[in-house]
Amino acid sequence: MAPWPSLRAQSNGVLAAAPAERLNIKRGSSAELKLKAQLQPGFHVNSNTPADEYLIPLKLTWTKEPLEAEQVTYPKPELEKYAFSANPVSVFSGNFEIVTRFKAPATAPPGLAIIAGKLRYQACNNKECLPPRTIDLRATVNIE
């Protein structure tokens, strides 16, 4: 798996994630930020909508200031069959992107700012699982 050359990954275990670029956003409008994630080969993480109630979903959250996260869009999950499950399991593997649409309040102060987020995940392979972990994320935004 080729790494993204421009990805300054923040990692914690088998998953690395980082915003793809600086977010430029106008006050009173919305813009999208891509989060690139890279998972170690052989491992998967549960998707944001795992079928089994006991599985821990992937979840991306952002602090409420200085921007409002209007919507988080996860990629389409893969349905994989594993020996431990009678039904296919909804997972992400390899490289994937999560898109967040932010809205800048009309009253937001212009200039550079930092938004902070958390990506919680739980990874497994065919043989074992790792404990749930959280990656702390920081993205630079330019509010115009």
Partner: protein, 194 residues
């Protein structure tokens, strides 16, 4: 300008390569062997709130399984362990499951009902995991002989149910005054190079 961009690209690639290399060293595999060492004592609560010590099982062969409700591969072994509990409990054998669920009994109790688990489950914590050499991956299973020594440690789903069963029988059949750890036969097959 182009030199700066090239330098940045190289720097980023090196950073990612270092990260990637670190990831390939899978967590939980770099532990020193615990085979033959005394199994650490612990005091953990069971589902009824009773404090359970490993010493309560003195003289028994114990299968100590670290697991969690969110661990899919753990589900493969649980029915095996239920069979072993049923089959060998009258021969001085016990399965003890240690749940590493952060949400505690709220998550664990309904799961035990759903899976119809017939052996004792305790609620674990990081301290106990550390005592046992760091439980970084689940399932992690220890087989403890009648003398309280660790006969093997298995990270991840084991080779197979029959190999597991053979190892248990090997320990149950061992003379009671002889430490069984680090012997060959089924234990060597099951534990491999661990």
């Amino acid at each position: 300008m182009s030199k700066t961009i090239s330098a940045l690209a190289v720097c980023s690639a090196v950073c990612m390569a270092l990260f990637y290399t670190a990831c390939v060293n899978r967590p939980g595999t770099a532990k020193s062997s615990v085979k033959g060492k005394s199994a650490p004592e612990f005091a953990l609560k069971d589902a009824n709130g009773q404090t359970v010590h490993l010493a309560d099982y003195k003289g028994k062969v114990v299968l100590l399984d670290f697991w969690a409700t969110w661990c899919g591969p753990c589900k493969i072994e649980i029915p095996w362990f239920m069979d072993f509990e049923q089959q060998f409990k009258d021969r001085g054998f016990a399965v003890v499951g240690v749940s590493m669920d952060e949400d505690g009994w709220t998550a664990v109790k309904p799961y035990l009902v759903r899976m119809k688990v017939n052996y004792r489950i305790l609620l674990g914590n990081d301290q106990v995991g550390t005592l046992y050499g760091g439980v970084d991956s689940l399932p992690t299973t220890f087989l403890i002989d009648r003398q309280g020594k660790i006969a093997f440690k298995e990270i991840g789903v084991s080779t197979g149910k029959e190999e597991f069963k053979d190892a248990i029988v090997h320990l149950l059949d061992a003379p009671r005054d002889v430490a069984s750890a680090a012997t060959g036969g089924p234990l060597a097959v099951l534990a491999g190079a661990k």
